[in-house]
Amino acid sequence: MTTSAHSPAPAPADPDPGFDGTWVVVPLFCEAAVIGDVVHGLRTRFRHVVCVDDGSGDDSAARARAAGAVVVRHAVNLGQGAALQTGIAYALRDPLTRSVVTFDADGQHRVEDAAAMVTRLHAEDLDVVFGTRFLDGRTELDPVRRLVLRAAVVYTNRTTGMRLTDAHNGLRVFSRRGAQALRIRHNRMAHASEIVHQVGRSDLRWAEQPVHVLYTDYSRSKGQSLLNSVNILVETLLG
């Protein structure tokens, strides 16, 4: 790859089977137990993975690096939204980037889903593909979590005029244009609604794709408390 004969900025129409123009952005905060496996998994399909270490106190960053990811490190903990925006900014610094994937660090997403979404983004010339856990019956959720997520979707659809089935899924794929349109200002968890809002206000072409979210004991224990939805609501309303 170092002395390639072909032109450095190709614009092929093929769906980029090696995903060489794709950066996977993984916001990372204290996930040392699983991040190595997550990055290894991603690297079976994607060449470029950037973990944004959001000021972790454990050796998450070292494990991510050992597994083959580039690590960009926030000096202080800022929150997942801030980490996503940093990772997207990093991916956009690469002139060869054609698409950007956001992927959670706790192992709840499947690499095959991400790969399928990238392929679809390029094949259908979309700007955003949102993962959704509600379009098919694979993802098992407890009733309270399902209710809160449904309420969030109803609220988001009301305020954006979009028709999404899952507004808070960490698995998303953006085209370069889609990634450039994002300006995530909510540092913590309200960024999911914020992304949907910004896409809704833009002229970006978007679609939803069913994905399977794996609720392991680990991801459940690391996942958001349902009370946090109160914080999300306040942050969203107060700006």
């Binding site: 170092t2 090696g18 960009v72 000096a75 991916a91």
Partner: protein, 125 residues
Amino acid sequence: MLVIQVLLLVVVLVVGVLLVRSTAGARHQAVRRLLLGALVALAVASILVPTAVTAVANVVGVGRGADLLLYGLVVAFLGFVVSSYRRSRALEETVTQLARRLALDEAPTPEQARHHEGDGPAAGA
């Protein structure tokens, strides 16, 4: 509805909307300081001449001067909460931008990363 109720509701809502919506510029700071000054003056007056403040309170429909002072305090407190929330949000945004710039500048560039990843697992696919 009592005069004071209408008055306080209007003030609370106006203060809330103003502080939430517009950017906290010099004019808003001045308005806040004037309001705070009025509150201090009211507090001083209520200590020196309680009857006078009570008289003012009676005019707007409040029983005692101390109650009027309390209402003023509630309004001022709400304004304080909202403006300090806004200020901390602005500060947070500044810190975020600084930390992001620092993080990106310290990291290997994507070009360097591509070079190192040349023999990555994806190449074998």
